[in-house]
Symmetry: C3
Subunit: 351 residues, 3 copies
């Protein structure tokens, strides 16, 4: 049931030092790997541990191989980016053990007569596919999912369980939407008349590119009039909220609990740490990295790393610093007074 | 398939300057509006754009009309609040195109024999209506929703998809609960005995007024002994958490990711920016406006705008400022020392 | 339909002063309690109110009993921890009125032939139990829940409605998972190759101990290679996100909206206030208490209370203090300059 190292190298590249017929059955971290595992060294600070690893084989960089290759007893696959190699090999091993969802429509599912479901797609138990929806080749629609009227799910995209994908929204190919996510819910749009809110119908869509992952219980609002856009390769973790009319550039990643208010335009290749928040109608450049727990309250034109959270302290120390923060203007006044007094003193001295 | 301007004015008021028989088919923003659209000018800074708009008709204020009415080629509807007019007209156009959920109970739904479902209500695919629940006239209960025992859903209220509305909770008329929301989950109540938590049964309800909107994946806890109360016209965005025994005043609005801890009493006509947090057992006056990402840790007795988040900075700058914030007491000490030294100096000088 | 005080004392202990045959039908707070209720005094500041309470009986400490026992007209149960006594008694009364979910599998549920469902378990309407899953004695699997392949639900554990419990994950006995929670969703793990994310399959599990409560719409990621661990007695409120490979120690409690990034190791008997955030790969000692809205960005080795949020202020005041916070380095420079100048002045004076 193992895989030959030679087969791995044929699939994923890299220079093999060792027996191509050696078989491994899976990937394990350095500390746990045994004689049937391949492991990887992606952080050179674990070099000594890697040299002693009991793994049958090791994925490592040319630089690390030069240093520990001779010392390490097993086979080696040398590649510029062992972590990426690990990811690809892990996908390969996972696919070997994966239970594929069977093609076809489960008898308990409801599929409207006007929906188009590819014969290779799997529609799970109690799933609901509404009128006019299009489910592409190889899609997996999990148990309890609801795909709304005229929605489009691209080939190979999976909806896990209890996902709601609302009417007319679109997702491209090879995406994953985790359980409990809601795509295309109404944006938070109201006109206020004397204190009372009048709902503005949200008639735009959510349009999602290829290779997009959306985390569990994440919510993405449909556009008010235009569309909310999520470009190719975006990765959204769990519990994220994306407001209406946002535009998120390709290959941007957001960690859990991030919130993005309406109409924010976010660049490509950005990252957002957990619980970072972005106010509405801002524009964030490409390659901006926002730290966890940080609030973005102005547009950011320049790439780079941005942070803004109050540092944690023992409660008593925080109480003190917070009290001073509340009165920073008075501290500034005191400094100004000091400066003036000293100016007077030194001027007197000069006289 | 269009609507006469005359019909719009008859329904929603406003002064029409132009042909009442001119037909429009929908609403579009200034930039996109064409000859079949009506558009609106709600922010005077777009006045020049509005004057050049290709829209068949424009909704605008008397003041803006006085300035650009002559210049603009199309018909005009003049009204004090064009944004509210837009909201109402947009609702009207949306209703024309809306697919109404059909009245009746889908054969796949489960409705307990003791539940009361109005004949005009729509119970969707795989929905569950438990014993004793009451579903009012014109309600729409979406696919996968669960309405608990003895719950009451007021006339015209919609639950989209996969909503859970727990036992004995109540919502009034014309509400909307978006997908994945959970109403009436247990509050977080425990007694602690030597470090171990003993659950306190949560036997209160959630009681929600009329015209309340609740966002996707928002959660509202039922009361511990008494009820959690959400008054009329409250608007809650997605991913909000409302703790047990909270009371939220009429026409208060909360943006996405807000959290309100248990037993907070919040006034009417308040607003809370995204990810604002309110501690438990606080009282917030009417017309308090809390900014995004701000933590309310004390009661607020006075209306007004409140804010409290750490300003974002380039990471290196934040590192510096955060290190100083951690040591603000020592900075204050330094200033006190300086003040004393200078007092000594100036006293010496006076001598 | 009432319960004799004598029966309560027999079940839950305490010294009864009064008639053991007196019957009460439920528990109520001091302010609301009438002649058919038992009430409790857990906070001595309400001692005067308790003395006047109309409750048939009162649960109170020996100290409070010494002070008001003679004054209060009803029966008393004297016990060291009235709040814990209240919790236990309230559970007892709640159980009397509870509608037990009927044992057995609802005809609309889907249970794979290879799943093992105990005969005393209740599988609700439209629930899904996948291949190889094990559902223990007395479990309640609510409507719309999905229990994945080879998952294990311990005896007496309840999943409310629309819960997703993914493949191979495990929960112990007497747990509660509230509606919309997702257990065992993929962790957020990617290798980055030239800006493009390559998914790392998440093949670990979530392993949850006994007596664990998980709130509505809370999400817990499965481990990447190893498991995510939630120990016995942990209590998680709603809308919490726990990243992959976290380990949460026994009897730790987290309030709503908390986020814990991947691989954080959190001790026993900790508490986290609402919306607190913990960065990844940190280690938090036992008995650490983190305040609401606080970001934990470094490991914490010492027990105690920690806080870190920007204090709320009127918006205009916040604008001022935030502007100064942004420029704290320049304020520090000014102070340094002042110190130097004064040093020069005083040195001159000394000459």
């Amino acid at each position: 049931m193992g895989t030959r190292l030679g087969d791995l190298v044929e699939r994923f590249g890299g220079q093999l030092a060792g027996d191509p017929n050696l078989e491994v059955t899976g990937i394990a971290p350095l500390a746990d790997a045994g004689a049937s595992h391949i492991s990887f060294l992606s952080n050179s600070k674990f070099r000594a541990q890697a040299a002693q690893s009991g793994a049958a084989a090791l994925i490592l960089t040319p630089a690390d191989d030069a240093l520990i290759g001779a010392e390490y007893a097993g086979a080696r696959i040398v590649t510029p980016n062992p972590y990426v190699y690990f990811a690809r090999a892990a996908q390969y091993f996972a696919a070997l053990h994966e239970m594929k969802a069977p093609a076809g429509i489960h008898p308990s599912a409801f599929v409207d007569a006007s929906a188009q479901v590819d014969a290779s797609a799997s529609i799970g138990v109690h799933a609901v596919i509404e009128a006019g929806a299009v489910i592409g080749a190889g899609c997996v629609i999990g148990p309890g999912c609801v795909v709304g009227r005229d929605a489009v799910i691209g080939a190979g995209t999976q909806l896990l369980a209890n996902v709601t994908f609302h009417a007319r929204c679109v997702i491209g190919q090879r995406g994953i939407i985790h359980s409990g996510a809601v795509i295309g819910t109404d944006g938070f749009g109201f006109a206020n008349e004397g204190g009372v809110y009048i709902k503005i119908p949200q008639t735009g869509r959510v349009v999602i590119g290829d290779d997009v992952d959306i985390g569990a219980n994440t919510t993405i609002d449909r556009g008010a009039l235009a569309d909310t856009i999520i470009e190719d390769g975006v990765k959204l973790d769990n519990q994220i909220q994306i407001g209406h009319n946002c535009h998120i550039g390709a290959h941007t990643a957001m960690a859990g609990c991030v919130g993005v208010a309406g109409s924010a335009i976010i660049g490509k290749y950005c990252t957002f740490g957990g619980a970072a928040m972005v106010l509405g109608h801002l524009t964030i450049a490409d390659r901006v990295h926002v730290g966890s727990g940080s609030m973005v309250s102005r547009s950011i034109a320049e790439p780079g790393q941005y942070t803004g959270f109050y540092p944690l302290a023992k409660n008593a120390d925080w109480e003190k610093s917070a009290a001073i923060v509340r009165n920073l203007s008075s501290m500034r006044e005191k400094i100004r007074t000091l400066e003036k007094t000293i100016k007077t003193l030194t001027t007197q001295d000069e006289k």
